[in-house]
Symmetry: C2
DNA sequence: AGCAAATGATGAGTAAAACTCATCAAAGGC
DNA sequence: GCCTTTGATGAGTTTTACTCATCATTTGCT
């Protein structure tokens, strides 16, 4: 026998936020409602769920354990309901990183619209696409090392690292003739020196210490930085082909490095016709893209 | 935004049982309530969840997908709430097979009561104790081959197989002088010939074909059958020591076979003081039991 | 085939929640 | 030290969940 579900939900919201007021706001009710619900629940279960220390509340041990489960259970319900709603609207939700969205998906989106007018593609840009793997997206585009291809994933695109910068950067930082020359210049990189380490390794340079230079999370920002002459960056072919063509950035060397990373598709287990249409369209783009 | 939770729950119950009427009964409401809830959900989600083919209902594809999740989510909630309720009542719920319950636990339960008057031990007898591992029992006593000790489990008791029967059986089936003589007599066994295969192997008999004879699931029933002279069975020492002492059954040989199976404790992750007390008491019994 | 029993749908009405409002108490910030 | 913020409480209101009465369909039975 379950206690009242709205009460459980109120408890869950309060536990997540550590505040009745915040929970109330989230559920669009008054804090009074939450307070009543939680008290009712406590009475029914015979257990104190929150310790009220004057103005704020803190979960008791029992409350904490219950909250662990309610959080998972309600998230599951939320996801499942969302998915059904999308189904009804023939929406396919795709989660991808910002650079993929901007440099690969956007240029092709018109083509998709033409090919599948009935399917509504919803793109959720995210810095952590992996976090969407469960339930809240039908397709997730993840970035992985090509050697670490995730189980059950579909390879979409392989990427080759190239060192790029703007003309302005070259003027300012003298001639760059060998990869080691770069070590004296500002190198903008992502967390984990993503790209640069592979690139130096492929160029036969052994790094003695960590790279210095500004770290940005957002690859779009990094490319923008390169175009502005802020530093040298690793770009990924073919994603940045257009930037090269239009002269916003130039390649520092004519290196031909094998793909080290790639984009992979992880597809939700409920394979609707619309989802499959999108996957097929995405993989069909591959041919023309490389 | 979640739709009304009681409606989701009504849907879940209907989906599980494949009938609005049965769902209504389970939730102690009228079938009308379920019908209204499901219709409301369908309108809100914009998706048909059940196909109504005249008198009965069948889940649509979308309904099926939603039901998969609701089933898991509501089970989780139910378990979690149950656990909290037990906590409040200082109840420790233990799931175990019937033979363990009857021959090992029952004789010792008075001792437990004396040692821990505050803790209420609730014994859930089950033919499939493993099924209780998640959430609905604090401690599960599983039966495993000693070589397959489950991860994180605590060994409680090792069991040695012995061939036993009643005097009556011996009168009827002539003298049993070697293990192979047994192959001509009715051997009662559990599914998978549990016990007999190990026993014959340990006695150096290679079986040419499957064993015949009646198969029972319930070890208590099997022991009863042995006492009644229905056939020879495998008993497990020390569980059946008392039956031997009281002469209800006799050992057919004086074999000394090493333990092949054992009882293990699997303990729920939320380790309350009460649960730990019970585990400690159980394992302490081990010394006196063998 | 024909009828009774079973299942679900529907709309109106009722009962029971969930929720709000007004008021109070306690605690922390300035 | 006062003002703001957060939560508690009891009475009152609104919304929701549910029931009842009635109807439509189907299925099992003889």
């Amino acid at each position: 026998m379950l206690p009242s579900l709205p009460a459980l939900r109120a408890f869950d919201a309060a536990a997540r936020r550590g505040s009745f007021r915040a929970a109330a706001e989230h559920l669009s009710v008054t804090a009074t409602a939450i307070s009543h619900h939680v008290r009712g629940l406590e009475e029914q279960l015979g257990v104190k769920l929150f310790e009220r220390t004057g103005r704020d509340i803190v979960l008791t041990e029992e409350g904490r354990r219950l909250a662990e489960t309610t959080a998972r259970a309600f998230s599951m319900l939320e996801d499942a309901v969302q998915t059904v709603r999308r189904t009804a609207r023939r929406v396919v939700r795709l989660a991808a990183g910002p650079i993929f969205t901007a440099r690969w998906l956007m240029p092709r989106i018109g083509d998709f619209w033409g090919a599948h007018p009935g399917v509504q593609l919803e793109v959720a840009p995210s810095f952590r696409p992996r976090a969407h793997t469960e339930g809240d997206a039908d397709i997730v585009v993840t970035w992985e090392r090509v050697s670490d291809m995730p189980e059950g994933a579909v390879k979409l695109l392989e990427l080759r690292p190239v060192a790029i910068a703007s003309e302005q950067f070259l003027d300012r930082n003298g001639p760059i003739e060998t990869p080691t020359d770069l070590l004296r210049a500002p190198l903008i990189h992502q967390r984990n020196q993503l790209g640069w380490l592979d690139w130096f390794a492929a160029m036969g340079v052994r790094l003695e210490e960590d790279l210095r230079g500004p770290v940005f999370e957002d690859a779009n920002a990094i490319l923008r930085g390169a175009a502005d002459g802020q530093g040298a960056v690793i770009g990924w072919l073919p994603l940045i082909q257009q930037d090269l063509n239009e002269g916003r950035v130039v390649r520092l060397f004519n290196e031909e490095i094998a793909p080290t990373h790639g984009y992979f598709l992880e597809i939700a287990s409920d394979r609707r016709a619309e989802t499959i249409a999108v996957v097929n369209w995405l993989t069909a783009q591959r041919a023309g893209s490389v």
